[in-house]
Structure formats: structure tokens, C-alpha cells
């Protein structure tokens, strides 16, 4: 195994085909590969796998937390919408009740006013009727006296009962 490899290299042949150097290369290659393998498999690869798993866990946790927060936001919005709807319904109910109240008051007031108007109208009618009757009597009176005067003026003898009968007949007429 003790050889002088430099001779082969300097003599122009390829050092790759200098078989005298093979045992040396192979020995150190095996040592190197074993060291790298031990370092990677014992330390580096488990550590990197741990880092990646931890990162995946963190990201998954963050996503889950974000999802949960989003769910809570949606819940809050729903609650808000519900409250809003309920408030609207309440308001509509109050408006309807108030409207009904007002309508009732209005109806009562109108009815009362109608009654009052009717009473006033009846009273007025009665007054008008009285006035009318008074007027008819007055007309009859005036007619009687005018007729009496006319009869007297024409030189006749005014018979009060005959005149009254004649006026009454004419007024009916």
C-alpha cells in the first residue's frame, strides 16, 4: 500500500485512475460519510423536523385562533342584527299601539262632536221652527189687521170672525 502517487500524477495519466490512491480515498470517504450521517441523523435532521413541526403547529394554532375570533365576530354581528330586528319590531308595535290609541281618542272625539253637532242642529231647527211659527202668526195677524183696515177703508163693516176665517183660508191656500 505504500506507493508514490505523485509519480502517476506527474507522468500525465489521470489521477482518477491511479489505483494506488483508492484505499486512501475510500477510507476517508467512509469516515466522512459516517460522520456526516451521525451529525445529520442524530442532531440536525430531528432538530429541523422539530422546527418545521413547531412552525406548522404555530401556524395551525394561529389559524384556529383567527377562525375562532372570526366566529365570535360573526356571533356578535348576528346578536347585533337580532337586537336591531327586535328593536324594529318593538318600535313598529309601539307605533301601531300609539296609532290605535290616537284613532280611539279621535273616534271618541268625533263621536262626541257629532253628538254635540246633532244637538246643536236640533236646537237650531227648533229655534228656526219657532221663528217660522212666530212669523206665520205675525203674518196672519198683519193680514187680519190689514184686511180689517182695508174692509173699513172701503166702507164695509169689518166682521172680525169673517176676516179671520178668510185670512186663515187664504194662508192655508
Amino acid at each position: 500500500m505504500a506507493t508514490t502517487p505523485t509519480e502517476a500524477a506527474s507522468s500525465g495519466t489521470m489521477p482518477q485512475l491511479d489505483f494506488a490512491t483508492f484505499p486512501n480515498q475510500i477510507f476517508w470517504l467512509i469516515v466522512t460519510l459516517v460522520v456526516i450521517y451521525l451529525v445529520l441523523s442524530r442532531v440536525a435532521l430531528p432538530r429541523i423536523a422539530g422546527i418545521l413541526a413547531e412552525r406548522r403547529g404555530t401556524i395551525a394554532g394561529d389559524l384556529a385562533a383567527a377562525q375562532e375570533l372570526k366566529g365570535r365576530a360573526v356571533d356578535a354581528e348576528n346578536a347585533y342584527q337580532n337586537a336591531l330586528t327586535r328593536a324594529r319590531a318593538e318600535a313598529a308595535k309601539i307605533i301601531a299601539a300609539t296609532k290605535a290609541d290616537i284613532q280611539k281618542d279621535l273616534d271618541a272625539a268625533i263621536a262626541k262632536a257629532d253628538v254635540q253637532i246633532a244637538a246643536k242642529a236640533a236646537e237650531s231647527e227648533k229655534a228656526i221652527a219657532e221663528i217660522k211659527a212666530g212669523a206665520v202668526d205675525a203674518v196672519a195677524e198683519v193680514a187680519r189687521s190689514t184686511a180689517g183696515e182695508l174692509v173699513a177703508a172701503l166702507g164695509g163693516k169689518a166682521d172680525a170672525s169673517a176676516i179671520t176665517a178668510a185670512v186663515s183660508a187664504r194662508l192655508k191656500g
Binding site: T4, P5, T6, Q16, W28, L29, V39, A44
Partner: protein, 235 residues
């Protein structure tokens, strides 16, 4: 060709199998680089990675996904082996690009041992996991019956050529790239064409940066493809 030469690190002419050589030095540097990236780089275990941890994580997920996608989920137990090969080849390739550096992976002895290790692992694993039915890998049941013996011979040959192509592809690529650069560099001695030489070296160096990564990837993914044959020979 001197750049590929192997010599004892601490003087002397004799190279025993245990003599620390420039191979030892550059393989040790590759190991230290791997430790720096994968152990020191991830020491802080931060949720938001820094540069070194980011690179380490990218390489980890890259190789991990490659193993799972190519060789299947049950191949995850071989992930550390594939990662070891990938890391060593990647580090050696890129360290070789340092001027004055030595490229361990440009030596057929190195790549052949790795390819043979993969070949033996796949073959032994194939027979251990599947028994004699592992031979079904060579019996193409989807082909017409007449063709099957012919295909079996071809499949068998290609199976045994695998470690050769696997190892020579890597060593050849690395050696060729470095040789072309050194040839361009030799032209740099002549003043008239030295600008061309510089341009050539720069272009070739850029190309080599690409090749270094790709060859590490190719070696690793071929390892995964072969592992799939051992795990699922009936495809």
C-alpha cells in the same frame, strides 16, 4: 490534471490507506461546512428562520419531498441516508469551485463507492423485503410474452450498469468542468487570447455553479428511484 492529484497532507511520499491527505482535508472541510449549515445554522430554532436556517430548511424539505415523492412514504426511513449523500456531494462540489480547492467528487473512487453502496443497499433490501418476487422487476409483465425474455436480459443488464452510470455521471461532470476551466486558464498565458480566456473561465464557472447543484440533485434522485425499485418492484 494536477488539481486532481492526491498527496499526503503533511509531506512525505508514501500514501498509506490511513495517511491524512488532501482528500482528508477537503472531506473534513465538507463535513465542517455541513455541520455549520445544518447544526450551527439551526441552533436558534427560530420560528421565523434566518438565512442559514432558511437554507438548511429548504435543503431538508427539498430532499425530504424528493424521497417521499419519488420512492414513496415508506421510504422516509432512508431519508437520512439520501440526505447524507446529497449533503456530502453538494458540499464537495461547491468546495471544489474554490480556486485551489480539491473536488472529492471528481474522483471515480469516491463516487463509485457511493454508487456501489446504493446498489448493494437496493439489491439486498429488495430481496429482504420482497424475497424472490424482487426478480419481478426484470420480468416486464405488461409486455407481450414473446418479448419478456428479451426485455428481462436488457433490464438485467441495465440494472447492473446502474452503479457505473450513477458514479461516472457525477465524477465525469465534475472532472470535465474543472478540466475545461483549467484548459481555458492555460490559454490565459498567451496575451493575445487572454481576454477570451477570462470570458471563457467566467462563463464556464457560472455553468459549473449550476452543474454542481444539479449533479448533487441527480445523484440523490437516482438513489430515490433505485430505492423505489427495492420497495415497490411491481410497477
Amino acid at each position: 490534471m494536477e488539481q486532481f492529484g492526491i498527496h499526503p497532507l503533511f509531506g512525505g511520499d508514501t500514501l498509506h490507506w490511513y495517511t491524512p491527505s488532501n482528500v482528508t482535508l477537503w472531506m473534513a472541510i465538507a463535513t465542517l461546512a455541513a455541520i455549520a449549515l445544518f447544526v450551527l445554522g439551526t441552533a436558534r430554532r427560530s420560528i421565523i428562520p434566518g438565512r442559514a436556517q432558511g437554507i438548511a430548511e429548504i435543503l431538508y424539505t427539498f430532499v425530504h419531498d424528493m424521497v417521499v415523492d419519488t420512492a414513496g412514504h415508506d421510504a422516509v426511513r432512508f431519508f437520512p441516508y439520501v440526505m447524507t449523500l446529497f449533503t456530502f456531494i453538494l458540499m464537495s462540489n461547491y468546495l471544489g469551485l474554490i480556486p485551489g480547492g480539491f473536488t472529492s467528487t471528481s474522483h471515480i473512487a469516491v463516487t463509485a463507492i457511493m454508487a456501489l453502496a446504493v446498489f448493494l443497499t437496493v439489491t439486498v433490501l429488495g430481496f429482504v423485503l420482497n424475497g424472490a418476487s424482487f426478480l419481478g422487476l426484470f420480468w416486464v409483465s405488461s409486455a407481450p410474452l414473446v418479448l419478456r425474455p428479451v426485455l428481462a436480459v436488457i433490464e438485467l443488464m441495465s440494472y447492473f450498469v446502474r452503479p457505473m452510470s450513477h458514479s461516472i455521471r457525477l465524477a465525469g461532470n465534475m472532472m470535465a468542468g474543472h478540466t475545461v476551466i483549467s484548459v481555458f486558464a492555460t490559454f490565459g498565458f498567451y496575451a493575445l487570447i487572454s481576454p477570451l480566456s477570462v470570458i471563457g473561465i467566467v462563463a464556464m464557472y457560472g455553468f459549473e455553479v449550476l452543474v454542481c447543484g444539479i449533479q448533487a440533485y441527480v445523484f440523490a434522485i437516482l438513489t430515490c428511484v433505485y430505492l423505489r425499485d427495492a420497495l415497490h418492484p411491481h410497477h
